[in-house]
């Protein structure tokens, strides 16, 4: 009655997970529901729970190693039970070790021995040959499916498709646990069902080490979040016909408005970003043609504005979502965005808090970036890149004066938004920011 502990899909897009820390150790008594380990998923650090009672007999995957979803990471069994057959039956797959030390460029250290092809072959040869009386895993055991390659048919139930479409989850990067690897509703629910752990990002620096010799190279393993960023962005820039529109906005009156609001003495201070978020949301309500998803065979337009807000975190970036930003007050937006940013940095966001946005805003003003272009977060059709606010000489009432100006650049998916459509949206946004009263009008 041994229980195999398998790497579980703890977020909708997770295909592999890295064991950060074992909270239980070999020989420890465990009960169903106990947290066994902390696992770094593609977006956050989550808890891996025990699905059965017994003693943690064997830890298969050491801390710092990454394995695919569905692979064996440990074995729970009764103390006297023979578990020797289990690891072998599961295919003897090895976790990928993470180079903890900087690798010196010695030819002998070439990674050929751990080449993925080799590992996979070994796993496939062994996996199906489980002896008939080997105890079966407690959980319905999906054959871990590799994510779908471009152009391949995605196997998913109609219900799973609807849920995924609604939440903005990309089924192509998911593994299914239904018959024949079909993606079913449960696969999309696993993410929200798993409890989140409060965990500072302390162990994330595992791969960093001082330079030892001049000219040495440093191989830093990809964190899960970095891999997700890479995957998502390649999906964006390459296939999406982007074009860019830049507009310079006079921020004097927005400045005054912010000063006035903050002078009210409320504990909650308003930032320029909050004002921009609110203005973008309201402008999108007036221009729903920009508040849309490209869905390959159709375009979905939203009446609600769920605004993604790109936030830099230690290892990369994540876009928490302010839902129904159009309906929230500036103060509500300020409170919510502060909370989301804080929790994003602590990696405590729940999957539903960073998926489902209909449009995004990326702000690099605090880095003194004058203007830049941001990469669209598919299936959204647009993103607004916000530069720094700085005094610039402009002609005002026939005189050359210094005024606070801010440049925004909108990246548009030309399949959804045409030049004039995007321009009209920017015009509305500019009008709102240059006359903040328009927001309450």
């Amino acid at each position: 009655m041994a229980t195999k502990v398998l790497m579980e899909a703890l977020s909708p897009t997770m295909t592999e997970g890295k064991v950060m820390k074992w909270l239980k150790h070999e020989g420890d008594q465990v009960h169903a529901g106990d947290t066994l380990a902390e696992v770094e998923t593609d977006k956050a650090i989550m808890e891996l729970s025990a699905r059965g009672d017994g003693v943690l007999r064997q830890v298969v995957v050491p801390e710092g190693s990454t394995v695919e979803v569905g692979k064996l990471v440990a074995v729970i069994a009764r103390p006297e039970e023979d578990i020797s057959g289990i690891a072998a039956a599961t295919g003897g797959q090895k976790p990928r070790p993470q180079p903890a030390e900087p690798k010196s460029p010695e030819p002998a250290e070439a990674p050929a021995a751990e080449a993925p092809g080799h590992r996979d072959t070994a796993a496939r040869q062994l996996a199906p040959k489980a002896p008939p009386d080997t105890p079966k895993p407690e959980k319905p055991q999906p054959e871990p499916q590799r994510p779908v390659q471009p152009g391949e048919r995605i196997k998913a139930s109609p219900l799973a498709r609807k849920v995924a479409r609604d939440r903005g989850v990309d089924l192509a990067v998911m593994s299914g646990t239904g018959p024949g690897g079909r993606i079913v509703k449960r696969d999309l629910e696993g993410a929200t069902a798993a409890p989140l752990t409060t965990h500072p990002s302390a162990p994330l620096r595992a791969g960093h080490a001082p330079r030892t010799a001049p000219g040495a190279v440093r191989d830093v393993p990809l964190s899960q979040i970095r891999k997700t960023i890479a995957k998502r962005l390649v999906q964006s820039l390459a296939p999406i016909p982007h074009f860019f529109l830049t507009s310079e906005i006079d921020m004097e009156r927005a400045w005054d408005a912010r000063e006035a609001l903050n002078a009210l003495g409320d504990e909650q201070r308003i930032s320029f970003n909050d004002i921009v978020v609110k203005a973008v949301a309201l402008a999108l309500v007036q221009h729903p043609e920009c508040n849309a998803w490209w869905q390959d065979d159709h375009i979905r337009y939203f009446s609600d504005v769920h605004l993604g807000m790109a936030v830099a975190v230690e290892e990369g970036l994540i876009t928490p979502v302010i839902r129904n930003a159009e309906a929230k007050s500036l103060r509500e937006i300020a409170i919510e965005s502060r909370d989301l940013v804080e929790r994003a940095r602590a990696r405590k966001l729940k999957p539903e808090e960073y998926t489902g946005s209909t449009f995004s805003v990326s702000n690099l003003g605090m880095f003194d970036i004058e203007q830049f272009t941001a990469v669209i977060n598919p299936p959204e059709a647009g993103i607004l890149a916000v530069g720094t606010m700085a005094p610039r000489p402009v002609a005002h009432d026939g005189e050359l004066v210094l005024r606070r100006r801010m440049r925004v650049t909108m990246s548009c998916d030309h399949r959804v938004i045409d030049g004039a459509t995007g321009a009209r949206f920017l015009q509305t946004l500019k009008r709102m920011l240059e006359n903040p009263l328009a927001m309450v009008w």
Binding site: A130, P131, P132, D133, K136, S157, P158, D166
Partner: protein, 463 residues
């Protein structure tokens, strides 16, 4: 002593199906049965009662509806004994059929009472048989009375389905204790053959596990047919005489007496977990008395599996059969699709039939789900009108957001045949949209399913 790979104890719908599947997978399999193959289902349950229900249907058709269809049968004579003969013939054919299947699949049938012993062994009489891979326990349930209130089954005035299925003549009056599927079906049978039936249920409505609308419809139909349905009524005590029984009932706080010729006990079944060697084999029971099993139906004893009624509810033949297939595949080292216990259809074969799958509307409310009900009444269905069987409806409860089918409830002359469209839909996570997208033949009762799905999307055509 003979050696097998797998020994199945019990040859009912769980056990014999398990044995066939195990044999198909190349395992040397034996099944131990003390009585006839096919178990309660084939011999004193599902199958003979369906034969009697058909007799009941024909009786009602000929006596009441035939003339509307242009057939005037004249004087109608009902002969319950002949109906019983027909039902016995059907049972025997089916049991023989199971015997044939055992031979065909080279499953050894061991006659006698199987008793487990330690180490995957089964004793039958003086013989001990060993199973190299697994023993599967499938001993099922039997009828029971309520001796605490004087209603012990005496096989004459206080009977169970075991006796009811062999009666030569019908009683003039009959009280049925328990208005679940079994009680409701017998009420239908005996009422059709002229018995004055009182159907008693302690819970607030008959067919208590079905949707409240289904219960209400059948209660209304039964009342029209002259069956007294007493729901929310407790049997406090019984005085059992030679030619009759007096029941003391508590109806809404008031005491009432009911005198009947016979009482049919149809409230619950006793588990066959005694004298089968559970202790010796190391098999433990859970707090409700069912055999303790995990997700793959493994008991606490190494290599001993348990399926069917004694492995836990719902006590349904088709649930036991599916568990049998599942266990056989697990034993053979396969990874079967997990059994979805929330997707097992439930059917009561009274007239009209009641069938359901998934949640009732009350359960949706309790779980605070956001749902929409799609409904279609058979009175608007051409096929139902053609057969004068317009009593009933199809009700589909969909999740508001995604259209997931949370539950479906059908009351119709052929509800048992109509429910499977929804079972397939739910198993594959089709939503109401996919149900409706499939073209339904016209005219059929199943069109009502498609219409209910349309109604759930707010665009019913004929409603």
């Amino acid at each position: 002593m003979a050696n097998f790979d797998v020994i199945v104890v019990g040859g009912g719908p769980g056990g014999y199906v398990c044995a066939i599947r195990a044999a198909q997978l190349g395992l040397n399999t034996a099944v131990v049965e003390r009585d006839k193959l096919g178990g309660v289902c084939v011999n004193v349950g599902c199958i003979p009662s369906k034969a009697l229900l058909h007799s009941a249907y024909v009786a009602n058709l000929v006596r009441h509806d035939a003339k509307d269809f242009g057939v005037e049968p004249g004087t109608v004579t009902l002969n319950f004994g002949t109906a019983i003969k027909h039902s016995r013939r059907v049972s025997e054919q089916n049991s023989k059929g199971v015997e044939f299947l055992m031979k065909k699949h080279k499953v050894t049938v061991i006659k006698g009472e199987g008793v487990l012993a330690a180490g995957r062994k089964v004793k039958v009489g003086n013989e001990t048989h060993a199973a190299a891979k697994a023993v599967v326990l499938a001993t099922g349930t039997r009828v029971k009375g309520i001796p605490q209130i004087g209603l012990e089954i005496n096989q004459t005035t206080v009977i169970s389905s075991d006796e009811a299925l062999f009666l030569e003549t019908v009683p003039k009056t009959l009280a049925i204790v328990g208005a679940g599927a079994v009680g409701t079906e017998f009420a239908d049978i005996f009422s059709a053959f002229g018995t004055k039936v009182t159907l008693i249920e302690v819970l607030p409505r008959m067919l208590p596990i079905e949707d409240a609308e289904s219960s209400a419809t059948i209660a209304r139909v039964f009342k029209k047919r002259g069956i007294d349905v007493l729901a929310g009524v407790k049997v406090k005590a019984a005085t059992v005489g030679k030619n009759g029984v007096i029941l003391e009932l508590e109806v809404g706080g008031n005491a009432q007496k009911l005198e009947v010729e016979k009482v049919l006990m149809a409230a619950g079944r006793a588990l066959n977990t005694q004298n089968v060697g559970l202790e010796a084999a190391g098999v433990t029971l859970d707090e409700r008395g069912f055999v303790k099993v995990d997700q793959h139906l493994r008991t606490t004893a190494e290599g001993v599996y348990c399926i069917g009624d004694i492995a836990g509810p719902p006590m349904l033949a088709h649930k036991g059969s599916r568990e049998g297939v599942h266990v056989a595949e697990v034993i053979a080292g396969q990874k079967p699709h997990p059994i979805r216990y929330d997707n097992i259809p439930s059917v009561t074969y009274c007239h009209p039939e009641v069938a359901s799958i998934g949640l009732t509307e009350d359960q949706c409310k309790e779980q605070k789900l956001e749902y929409v009900v799609g409904r279609f009444n058979l009175s608007a269905n051409g096929r139902a009108r053609a057969a004068n069987e317009t009593e009933g409806f199809v009700k589909i409860i969909r999740d508001q957001k995604y259209g997931e089918i949370l539950g479906a409830h059908i009351v119709a002359s052929h509800a048992s045949e109509m429910i499977h469209e929804l079972a397939v839909a739910r198993e594959n996570e089709y939503t109401v949209e996919e149900i409706e997208l499939a073209v339904h033949a016209h005219p059929t009762l199943s069109e009502a399913v498609a219409e209910a799905a349309l109604d759930a999307m707010g665009r019913v055509i004929h409603g």
